[in-house]
Symmetry: C2
Subunit: 280 residues, 2 copies
């Protein structure tokens, strides 16, 4: 018998993976969570039928989500992660000399599943600098104190259901307020091929809240190829690394200071979509 997992995107295409074994399937109050052992991508975390990460290429997404912002800030000590219950984003932040990370994920079941099946991501939960809270991220930043964080990282699912608000202006405004005066925030902002409207809209929202807003891209095969990230900064230019911490860099597989520079060189059609959204 052959077992295949198929994820079909609303546009009418999708990806298939040969499955060696289903390792876990749980239903939390928020979503269905599956772990599959695949032939090609190693273990795979699937939420509500959508691939969230695979052992093969999670490093590309997590490194590019985290280190661009972290290397753009001279001294990030207090970091807030919204989402990211699998621990991969926290693992990357912990490579830096931070004082405290607060990870706010609405679904603690994701944390539990990761601890059981993704030890290479979940090592972060053993670090005492990391605190986890099972709360809604949008509510959390609404109530958080002004100027509490140096960096905020939004590691969310796609903008459907509960995650919609994480791409909107009121959330970015709350993040702006709870960041310190030289703070930086970064969020995944969708596929430049299939969600170009989200890429452009997220950039526009960010640019209306932060004095400096930029979009950058990275190659992430499990998410249909190219992926985009939007970054908002109060003071530092995020397109240029401000530090060169070789003890961090030597541990990374995707990110390096050249890749940081290169990620902001956007293809013409993405630049155009962003410019048009801003002008509208």
């Amino acid at each position: 018998m052959e077992l295949w997992f198929k994820e079909v995107y609303p546009q009418g295409w999708g990806v298939v993976f040969k499955v060696e074994k289903g390792l876990c399937s749980v239903r939390s109050p928020y979503q269905r969570i599956d772990v599959l052992e695949t032939k090609s991508h190693g273990r795979m975390l699937v939420i509500d039928g959508a691939v969230m990460l695979t052992e093969l290429d999670e490093f590309a997404y997590h490194e590019m989500l985290v280190h661009v912002a972290m290397f753009s800030h001279p001294n990030p000590k207090d970091v807030l992660i919204i989402g990211g219950g699998d621990g991969g984003t926290a693992r990357e932040v912990l490579r830096h000399d931070v004082k405290k990370i607060l990870l706010v994920d609405i679904d603690e079941e994701v944390v539990n599943v990761s601890k059981r099946f993704f030890p290479s991501l979940a090592t972060s939960f053993e670090d005492e600098r990391l605190e986890v809270r099972a709360e809604d991220g949008i509510d959390f930043v609404k109530r958080a104190s002004n100027g509490s964080y140096d960096v905020i990282i939004v590691d969310s699912t796609d903008p459907v259901g509960p995650a919609v608000g994480l791409f909107e202006k009121p959330f970015f405004e709350d993040c702006f307020r709870v960041l310190r005066e030289d703070g930086i925030m970064v969020a995944q902002s969708g596929s430049p091929y299939f969600q170009l409207d989200i890429v452009a809209k997220s950039h526009k929202n960010m640019s209306e809240v932060f004095p400096i807003a930029r979009t950058y891209i990275a190659g992430t095969p499990s998410y249909g190829g190219l992926w985009s990230f939007v970054i908002g900064s109060k003071r530092y230019l995020p397109e240029e690394p401000i530090r060169e911490d070789s003890s961090v860099l030597e541990k990374l597989k995707y990110y390096n200071l050249d890749v940081h520079l290169g990620a902001f060189k956007l293809p013409t059609y993405i630049k155009k979509a962003i410019d048009e959204a801003k002008a509208s």
Copy 2:
């Protein structure tokens, strides 16, 4: 009834596309050629069951294959294309002020199919600067005269079957010989996630033949995300555009001078694989 086309890669994963209609299916002496109308990617060219191009994202691949080499050469007049029977690569070359393009594809049936079903690519066949020959590319360069071309572009299928030789040193040596003294060649060199050995081996082969060898990448969703290209140059540094021809640039959707610079900023794991192959 729902019709789906599925391409499964040897690693045990693949892509699926909802098909509105099968438009054409022919068997040439060399391969089976299908054209599908898909819901998500527009028309799709499939050769021996593998996606060759889609209307949605062919621009990314063709622009990045062609313009990096073309903008690295100060005055490319004579261009040789090996493969590329669909006409997309020739279309991009023709945007430049070239004198003559010779396109050598083993299978003239690809040219015929493209003329019928991909008019946006096949416009190039109407340009009198383009000559098409149905021949084996490897044999062709073996017999071609020394110093005949400024730029050679290899637009091949994957290194299985007849295309294997296009990734090997003897072919690169013939290309070196038929290039002028400041000539440049470029070839697609596989997926950095699933064919990292080919990426590294192609670079090593190129670096043993050309004084300047570089690898660059671009995001190409139809080919499983990120794609790599290897470039060999006799004189000019390919990582820096040498011209800024705005009449060409304004027509492009992916390539721009920033993207050119950014494409050479390789993720750490790709750099390592290349360095290890060279040292072996």
